[in-house]
């Protein structure tokens, strides 16, 4: 059993090392694939592995996320810094991705952390602690729903922003289009003449 503990610690140490070199990228479009991520990061780091995170618990439409394993933790640090200082855009559209260092809990297949306390007790109605436990449980449930509510709220905000931007963009497009047309069909000459403005400006 001694060896198994050692083994477990070793596993965990390996795992932690992997965690150090992995970055977590959020706010990805669902269309983004491994290839895209690799290409995107090629400028600053060499990507070893990409693992997309499947959303199991949040009942809303949240953006995709991925765990990207890089060559070493220096690259990871550089990548994260790059992406926080400048808006890094993957996939060409204005919503930049967010990158942070990965944390152990983000990995699904993680080896057990040695030394975690796993004591448990079965508490029954008559016990002293029962009341407290029930309250704690309710608290946890409440917090969970608060969390969800916050998430929903944030998602809504995001939608707002997106809408705003889209509208602005549309407006601008129309403007430019109009200009384009006017230029093309020579109406501009007439207008210039009308307003007494020289065309060469």
């Amino acid at each position: 059993m001694g060896t198994s503990k050692e083994q477990a610690s070793k596993d965990y140490a390996d795992f932690e090392e992997k965690v150090k070199r992995t970055i977590y990228i959020d706010h990805l479009s669902p269309q983004v694939t491994t290839q895209v991520i690799k290409a995107a990061l090629a400028q600053c780091a060499n990507v070893v592995n990409v693992e997309f995170i499947v959303n199991y618990t949040i009942p809303f439409d949240i953006p995709s996320a991925a765990l990207v394993e890089l060559d070493d933790h220096i690259q990871a640090k550089a990548a994260v810094e790059l992406m926080t200082d400048f808006p890094f855009i993957i996939g060409g559209m204005p919503r930049p991705v967010k990158a942070t260092h990965a944390k152990a809990e983000m990995f699904r297949d993680r080896p057990p952390c040695p030394g975690i306390k796993k004591d448990f007790r079965l508490v029954k109605k008559g016990d002293d602690e029962y009341e407290v436990m029930m309250k704690l449980k309710n608290l946890a449930k409440k917090q969970e729903s608060q969390n969800m509510a916050l998430i929903k709220h944030l998602l809504d905000e995001e939608k707002e922003l997106a809408k705003q931007q889209q509208e602005a963009l549309d407006g601008n497009t129309k403007k430019y289009q109009m200009l384009e047309i006017v230029m093309q069909n020579g109406a501009i000459k007439n207008l210039a003449h009308r307003y007494g403005v020289s065309l060469d400006d």
């Binding site: 977590y24 959303n55 009942p59 855009i89 944390k103 809990e105 448990f120 969390n147």
Partner: protein, 541 residues
């Protein structure tokens, strides 16, 4: 005989006889499938296509007819299967041997349906049955002492004289028990039987210890017909309850009281001390093997796993192929190979490799079967193995579990996991127990059944924040547009999109702050609560 076909290694062992109605059937005593050796009277797992649970059976005959390899299996029943007729308490790991006559007693199956070996010890007090030592008992995957008559559908603990035409003594534990280190060979002359495999070479009880080699006989009086293989190897006979001590290579086998296995040494390793119920398939790449290594022993690598050898955690939908490897990795715990109609469960929870069937599918399947439980309020540090172990210790049930990855949105105070139990019943029991007050490290867990409804991200859908232009300009523009979508870059401050991007970043920063505040508040609340709780408990006392 036929060596390896397909990807699964196979070879015949000792030839036994020829027989059958048309004299076209070849009987064997043993065979090796995927580097695991199986012999007559070994207990094995078989999987049926579509069934989540494996069946356990004892090999009565091994044969080949017209190029088709078959085995005749005598079935064991799981408590669930005969629930209707069960009276009284059922022991942990207890299974029931089929007896009597009729359907359900024994069947002929394709050899490839075998999915691994297991150890089944008989603990009946009958004198024909060699009493297992407590150690053997602990190491066995299953135990049995009762028989289920398939014709009358009754349970009995009286040993019948014959089952499936074989003397019942053949099917029980072998007499000998010594965990001897001195090799001894028990060589029993084989009687080629030209008919149904009766291992009639039932060496007269206690005798048969005939040495062919000079090896000292450690008295292994096998009452069981060890159809021993004479390989001129000393081998400590391992008191096999049903198997034959086989010596593949010249290896002194430390006699390990194996209840069922064949002490196998695939490569020249002395299978010392590893009371493996299934042998050694260790470090064999392609280690296949059987399933649950006996509890205690286990091979190093089993951190605190005290899983009750309740086999697998499997519920897997059909099949696939060889599992082999991967999982085992450093674990020397053997993996189970999958054979055609079957699939293999991975026994050890700490193998992070989930064979073949991707977790997602299993989640869905489990949900349909009602065996899926969603546990919340765990410590987020817990890994899959921790959870499974916890469930095992606390609830005495086995399951497979995976914690949910913890993306940034999730509350760091509240860890979640999905657990798949073996049966719906298990799941229900687990839920009621957990909900009624299981506290782990100060956190009360709660759980519910089923899968959360989570919208599947539409891969073609538009992503919030990704703007699209409705330009009706010529083709050329559109292509450029397309290309534009796939470029990734760091935005420079001289483009329109920079402003847009900045807007997003601002929003994001705000969001993060909000989450931070909320989560922090949660944490403090919890602490406060726990403190109050603690105090009141103390006060109460």
């Amino acid at each position: 005989m036929d060596g390896n076909g397909e990807e699964i290694q196979f070879s015949w062992g000792k030839l036994r006889a020829k027989g059958g109605a048309k004299m076209d059937t070849q009987f064997y005593e043993s065979f090796t499938l995927d580097n695991v050796k199986y012999s007559l009277y070994d207990c094995v797992y078989l999987f049926k296509h579509g069934d989540p649970e494996p069946y356990i059976g004892k090999i009565l005959k091994i044969m080949e007819q017209n190029q088709v390899k078959k085995v005749k299996i005598l079935w064991f029943f799981l408590p669930d299967e005969i629930q209707k007729y069960l009276r009284g308490p059922v022991m942990e790991n207890e299974i029931f041997l089929a007896s009597g006559d009729g359907t359900g007693l024994a069947d002929i199956n394709p050899l490839e349906a075998i999915a691994g070996k297991c150890t089944v010890i008989c603990i009946s007090k009958d004198k024909r049955n060699h009493q297992p030592s407590p150690r053997e008992r602990a190491m066995a995957d299953y135990i049995f002492y009762r028989f289920f008559d398939v014709k009358n559908c009754t349970l009995s603990d009286q040993l019948p004289d014959k089952i499936a035409g074989l003397k019942v003594s053949v099917l029980l534990n072998p007499k000998d028990e010594q965990a001897i280190s001195s090799p001894s060979a028990i060589n029993v002359p084989l009687n080629p039987n030209v008919d149904e495999g009766l291992a009639t070479t039932v060496p007269p009880p206690h005798s048969a210890v005939k040495e062919e080699d000079e090896s000292p006989n450690a008295a292994v009086p096998l009452s069981q017909p060890a159809v021993m293989e004479l390989d001129a190897n000393p081998s400590a006979t391992v008191p096999l309850s049903q198997s034959v001590v086989k010596k593949e290579d010249r290896k002194p086998v430390v006699a390990i009281p194996l209840s069922q296995s064949v002490v196998k040494k695939e490569d020249k390793k002395s299978v010392a001390a590893v009371p493996l119920s299934r042998s050694a398939v260790k470090e064999d790449e392609k280690s296949v093997a059987s399933i649950p290594p006996p509890r205690s022993t286990v091979l190093e690598n089993n951190p605190e796993h005290t899983q009750s050898q309740n086999a697998h955690t499997g519920e897997k939908p059909p099949k696939r192929l060889k599992l082999s490897q991967e999982a085992t990795v450093k674990d020397t715990t053997p993996a189970i190979t999958e054979k055609r109609p079957l699939e293999l469960p991975s026994r050890q929870a700490d193998r992070s490799k989930w064979f073949k069937i991707p977790w997602d599918e299993r989640l869905r399947m489990a949900d349909e079967q009602g065996t899926l439980v969603y546990i919340q309020n765990l410590d987020i540090q817990f890994a899959a193995a921790d959870i499974e172990e916890l469930v095992h210790e606390a609830l005495k049930l086995s399951c497979t579990a995976k914690p949910i990855n913890h993306p940034t949105y999730d509350d760091p105070n509240n860890g979640k996991a999905y657990a798949i139990f073996k049966t719906k019943n298990d799941a229900d029991v687990a839920i009621s127990k957990i909900n009624s007050g299981l506290v782990v490290g100060g956190r009360p867990l709660y759980c519910s059944k089923g899968l959360l409804k989570v919208p599947i991200p539409k891969s073609s859908g538009t992503f919030v924040g990704h703007l699209s232009l409705n330009i009706k300009i010529g083709q050329k523009q559109r292509e450029e547009q397309k290309k534009a979508v796939s470029t990734s870059h760091c935005s420079q401050p001289n483009t329109i999109e920079y402003d847009l991007a900045l807007d997003w970043m601002l929003l994001r920063a705000k969001q993060e702050k909000k989450f931070e505040i909320l989560h922090k508040r949660h944490k403090d609340d919890r602490k406060g609560f726990a403190n109050i709780g603690g105090k009141s408990a103390k006060a109460g006392k």
